[in-house]
């Protein structure tokens, strides 16, 4: 599940933006070059600061090629906007879409064009195979991930780690050991915000990707693999091993299911720290900065999600995918440009943005933490999109969704992995509809 905080902020920003520039023309840029006289339209979810930052990228493209570029913000209703524009016969040339499910749907309808020529070459040159694969549907390249998120990091307080004399763990066994040592030192090791079910799905996904591997992960997301599969049960067993020790989690099991995500950030990095670690994506950094009690990179650092049984570096990710709705030269060139390090460089330097471009010099990021976060995304061998975002809404995508609910129950009482797996399978049968 994408973070609701951010969605809310975007919604507010969208309203503000709409109020601010009602009646105003979308900014356009004209220049002279190979595409002089042609125009290209880009649609995305960004507004406010993100839109302004992205505009700088588009301006650079306009200056370079001479094309006229126009940005349209669809906010959280981007899919609906594109749908209506498609129905009217004039889709935007390029769109940046955050949900792979939506992209798949458009590909199946034939609305999204396969990337060929310059665009395909740029993707091949600048992205690791894992990222190239994420942009493919049925083996054909359709999209390029311009902006990405890293959901496989655990944040921790350096002072608590120093007090306990522990180092950031790299394997699951070390992770469990560090947790035990932290508990021995007298601090609550981990805040698990079970009050928000989506955070628990991210726990599951990170372990599952390492236990089940990429193939099973993909199958599970389409329910081609039953949730009673041994890999799922093993994942739940590991979760139970961690959650089952009431000393390991803040407030014990009953307290954890009451804890909201926003509260948990304050409980770890706020005024009165209660726990030493918090697991969630790179966006936690911005929230820590907002609290202003510890500095990201100094008092608050992160480590990559530990490997299980020697699994290779793996990242659960989310991100915005650039796709072309028209087969025009301008659209292709723009996608090629977005796939280039030049474009990523402009936006990365402005902060709040992470690129998966392997040829981007990470020095451009404004702070060392961003560099580290981005590097773990770029070098990951195993990269998968947030699984719950790939499943039907009733299963993985909202309050009361089966996976959220069952994992919350499991956090409250992590006694029987097999029984929870059976319940997940039962719910999946219903929610995936007949598959």
């Amino acid at each position: 599940m994408r973070i609701s905080l951010r969605a809310g902020a975007v919604a507010v920003a969208a309203v503000l933006a709409a109020a601010g520039c009602s009646g105003g023309e979308d900014p356009t840029t004209t220049g002279s070059g190979s595409l002089a006289g042609q125009s290209v339209e880009v649609a995305g979810t960004w507004s406010g600061t993100e839109q302004a930052n992205f505009q700088a990228v588009l301006d650079a493209f306009a200056t370079k090629t001479g094309a006229t570029v126009k940005y349209t913000s669809g906010g959280d209703d981007l899919a609906a906007l594109i749908n209506s524009r498609l129905a009217g016969g004039s889709p935007p040339d390029v769109a940046l879409i955050p949900q792979p499910g939506v992209v798949n749907e458009f590909v199946r309808k034939g609305a999204i064009k396969e990337l060929t020529g310059a665009a395909a070459e740029a993707v091949a040159a600048n992205y690791s195979p894992a990222w190239q694969q994420l942009g493919q549907v049925d083996g054909k390249l359709y999209g390029v991930y311009f902006k990405v998120a890293n959901k496989s990091v655990v944040w921790y307080r350096t002072d608590k780690f120093t007090e306990a004399g522990v180092q950031a763990p790299t394997t699951w066994e070390e992770f469990v050991k560090v947790t035990k040592t932290l508990a021995d030192s007298g601090v609550s090791p981990m805040a698990v915000p079970g009050g928000d079910g989506w955070t628990l799905t991210d726990w599951f996904e990170n372990i599952y990707l390492r236990v089940g591997g990429s193939e099973n992960y993909d199958k599970l997301s389409r329910h081609e693999l039953p949730w009673t599969d041994p890999t799922v049960v093993e994942t739940l067993r590991l979760l139970a091993e961690y959650w089952g020790d009431a000393k390991s989690i803040q407030g014990g099991n009953k307290g954890a299911v009451q804890l909201k995500f926003t509260q948990s950030i304050a409980d770890v990095f706020g005024e009165k720290p209660q726990s030493a670690m918090l697991f969630e994506g790179d966006f936690v950094a911005a929230e820590i900065n907002k609290l202003g009690k510890v500095k990201v990179g100094e008092g608050a650092r992160f480590f990559d999600w530990p490997s299980v049984n020697g699994s290779k570096p793996a990242v659960v990710t989310a991100g915005d995918q650039a796709v072309a709705f028209k087969d025009t030269e301008a659209a292709k060139q723009l996608i090629a440009f977005l796939a280039s390090p030049d474009a990523a460089k402009i936006m990365a330097a402005k902060g709040g943005f992470m690129s998966a471009n392997k040829n981007l010099d990470t020095k451009v990021y404004p702070d060392p933490t961003m560099v580290q976060l981005a590097e773990s995304v770029v070098r990951a061998d195993l990269l998968r999109f947030d699984l719950s975002d790939l499943t039907p809404q009733t299963f993985g995508g909202g309050t009361g969704a089966s996976m959220w609910r069952l994992l919350q129950d499991f956090l409250a009482n992590p006694a029987d992995p097999a029984a929870t797996a059976a319940k997940l399978e039962e719910a999946a049968k219903k929610d995936f509809g007949g598959k």
């Binding site: 959280d76 209703d77 609906a80 007090e163 004399g165 021995d184 079970g194 009050g195 009733t394 309050t399």
Partner: protein, 472 residues
């Protein structure tokens, strides 16, 4: 992501409801009709009588628009909901009474129905009773208007805001939730937590945890080592000094925090940077009975002077480790519904009070005085005179609240945390959840809607009948 496409049926109904043309046109026509015949209704006798058909046509003119509005806004949605409730989730195939069967068999829906029953049984009666007591008492105090205004104030707050407020009141952490802060303060006044709560024997060492206490088998002559962990450095008493293993003979030993700050140190051994735990109650147990007791010194060492040599169990008594009382999980699975009902009472007691006060002021004063002159006590006056006389008002309040409680939705949605929403579920919330909150099952949602309608119906009919009676 909640980007549900609107179901076709609902869209149609909603469009019909939003479409202003039908009723407005009707009203305009009526207005024109009235304007075109100046003084027609009132001045009938100065003109000649109109034919009956025209009379009827006029009445159709007048009634028509209202009927049309009722049909589109009330009758059509009801019929359409019933129709939907007999169909599959997307309204495509007819499934008979399947949705109704599911409604009563699925555990989530059944829980919602059970909770609604609890709500109806408890909330209206309690609110009315509290409103009655408040009304009777407030009448007797000076500044009663001020009190009334204060009690009525919550009615001015939306359910949403009240829910958010109570979410904070009920917060589990005593640092944030005011209710738990109070509960903990009272509890700690009577039984404060021990100094060493949370401390436990270090894993991989000899002592074990037995029913809250820490025990180890020991012999006289050799020092008994009791390494503990899990205590934050800032909770070590200030007088504690570096741990020392006693050299005294007899039964002696040391209780210390076996955790070197910053790591290092050997498990189960007294290291240089590790401090002893003073004032721990240590007991020597033989054959199940405590034969001696002592407390540790500043360096954590203890010694039982003259004890017969042999084998003992050394126990760190449970009272050393009494955990702090963390308050009540108000919004946990078991208490969530009562907690929400309490918030509901807070909001609605003022409403009941105001209505009952109005009823009280209509009571003939002489009836009360007559009773008092006859020697009735205040309780008897209240019980035998006041209550029977305001009964009609009480009934109105209870019925109104019952209808209101049956539809309860927003307070539950806001107050119940995601993890216990299933336990707090009510019919209206479940209806929303299955149809719009991700489920997109409009069949089951409509069936729940029909159930809600049927439950509200008797209360409505009762109200209508009573109103008719009053008019007669």
């Amino acid at each position: 992501m909640r980007r549900a496409s609107e179901p076709a049926g609902v869209t149609v109904a909603a469009t019909a409801a939003r479409d202003p043309r039908t009723p407005v046109d009707g009203l305009n026509l009526t207005a024109a009709g009235v304007a075109g015949r100046p003084g027609a209704p009132g001045a009938g006798d100065t003109r000649r009588a109109r034919p009956a058909w025209l009379e009827r046509l006029t009445s159709v003119w007048f009634v028509g628009p209202a009927v049309l509005v009722l049909l589109t806004l009330v009758a059509y949605p009801i019929v359409y909901t019933v129709w939907l409730s007999l169909h599959a989730s997307d309204g495509s195939t007819f499934v008979g009474l399947d949705n109704y069967v599911r409604m009563f068999t699925a555990p989530e829906t059944r829980q919602a129905i059970v909770n609604n029953v609890v709500w109806v049984a408890v909330a209206p009666t309690l609110v009315t009773a509290i409103g009655l007591v408040l009304a009777v008492l407030i009448e007797r105090v000076r500044l009663s208007t001020v009190f009334k205004a204060v009690v009525f104030m919550p009615m001015a707050i939306s359910f949403l805001a009240a829910g958010v407020t109570f979410r904070m009141v009920y917060d589990e952490s005593p640092d944030r939730g005011v209710l738990n802060a109070a509960v903990v303060a009272v509890h700690d006044a009577f039984s404060p937590p021990s100094a060493y709560y949370g401390a436990r024997p270090r894993e991989g060492t000899a002592p074990t945890e037995v029913a809250g206490a820490v025990e180890i088998a020991a012999n006289t002559g050799a020092p008994v080592l009791l390494p503990l962990v899990g205590l934050p450095q800032d909770r070590i008493p200030a007088e504690a000094t570096a741990a020392q293993t006693p050299t005294a003979t007899g039964l002696s030993g040391v209780v210390w925090l076996d955790f070197t700050p910053g790591g290092g140190g050997t498990t189960g051994a007294v290291d240089a940077a590790e401090r002893g735990l003073p004032s721990v109650l240590v007991q020597a147990v033989r054959d199940g009975t405590v034969v001696a007791e002592t407390r540790t010194g500043a360096d954590g060492s203890f010694s039982f002077g003259e004890l017969a040599s042999g084998a003992y169990t050394v126990r760190l008594a449970e009272e050393n480790f009494t955990p702090p009382f963390n308050g009540v999980t108000w919004l946990g699975p078991s208490l969530v519904t009562p907690s929400i009902i309490l918030a509901y009472i807070w909001i609605w007691a003022g409403f009941a009070m105001v209505l009952i006060t109005a009823g009280l002021s209509a009571i003939p004063r002489d009836a009360l005085e007559a009773a008092r002159v006859d020697g009735a006590t205040e309780w008897q006056v209240f019980r035998r005179v006041t209550v029977p006389l305001v009964r009609p008002v009480l009934v109105v309040v209870i019925v109104t609240l019952t209808i209101n409680v049956l539809k309860i939705f927003d307070l539950v949605l806001v107050l119940a945390p995601e993890s216990s929403q299933d336990d707090a579920n009510v019919i209206a919330l479940q209806m929303y959840r299955v149809s719009f909150g991700g489920g997109l099952d409009f069949g089951l949602g409509s069936a729940l809607g029909v159930l809600l309608f049927l439950l509200v119906l008797p209360a409505m009919l009762f109200n209508v009948r009573r109103m008719r009676k009053e008019q007669r």
